[in-house]
């Protein structure tokens, strides 16, 4: 999972999916190009999605004849279970 997150394009893909979940490859490519000026090919984006899916950070679902990608935060929750986030500042 850490390897999956160690790439700016893949982090941007997760940003876009967390702001609007359930996107096709076409939509992800369009938003990466128009909002972030990324010229990655569809094939490259498809490979990034494969890495994210293998890491469990993205899950796919078929609706009709199209495939939609969703952000899954479960692998990230495992991090905070291992290293719980402690709120500082409220304690005196």
């Amino acid at each position: 999972m850490f390897r999956a997150l160690d790439d700016e394009t893949r982090r941007l893909i997760l940003d876009e999916l967390s702001s609007r979940d359930g996107q096709t490859l076409f939509e992800i490519c369009a938003t990466l190009a128009t909002r972030h000026g990324l010229g990655s090919s569809r094939q490259a984006v498809s490979q990034h999605l494969g890495v994210l899916e293998s890491a469990g950070l993205v899950v796919t679902e078929r609706r009709g004849r199209s495939k939609f990608h969703y952000f899954s935060s479960e692998p990230l929750a495992a991090i905070t279970r291992r290293w719980p986030v402690v709120e500082k500042g409220n304690t005196s």
Partner: protein, 134 residues
Amino acid sequence: MRIHLTSIFVDDQRAALAFYTDVLGFTKRHDVPIGHDSWLTVVSPDSPDGPELLLEPSSHPAVQPFRDALVEDGIPLCQFAVDDVAVEYDRLLGKGVTFTLPPTDIGSAVMAVFDDTCGNLIQIIAAKAGTGDE
């Protein structure tokens, strides 16, 4: 040289004619029987002498895998210009059309993608005023 006709493959020409006229609002231009099929075209009522869209039978064996792969990835095969994507989105939703992409701002334009029920995804787009694209 001018582009006067473009084509899309449709699973059923009669169902396609109904969708492209009754739902989308195009008008029939040519319907000439050729064997079991027809030379079937529609035009926009806004430009009846403008480019025709040929609704071509999808019976060639290469068509289905090609279109299935595009539809799986959400890639539209054809694009139509509209004045206001949000208005068309609401109108088509009301007619039971399924969208794979709701109206989305891409900077210079707003676009959306729907399923034409004939095997294709279609993009509608409206350029924003002042972008010099229209």
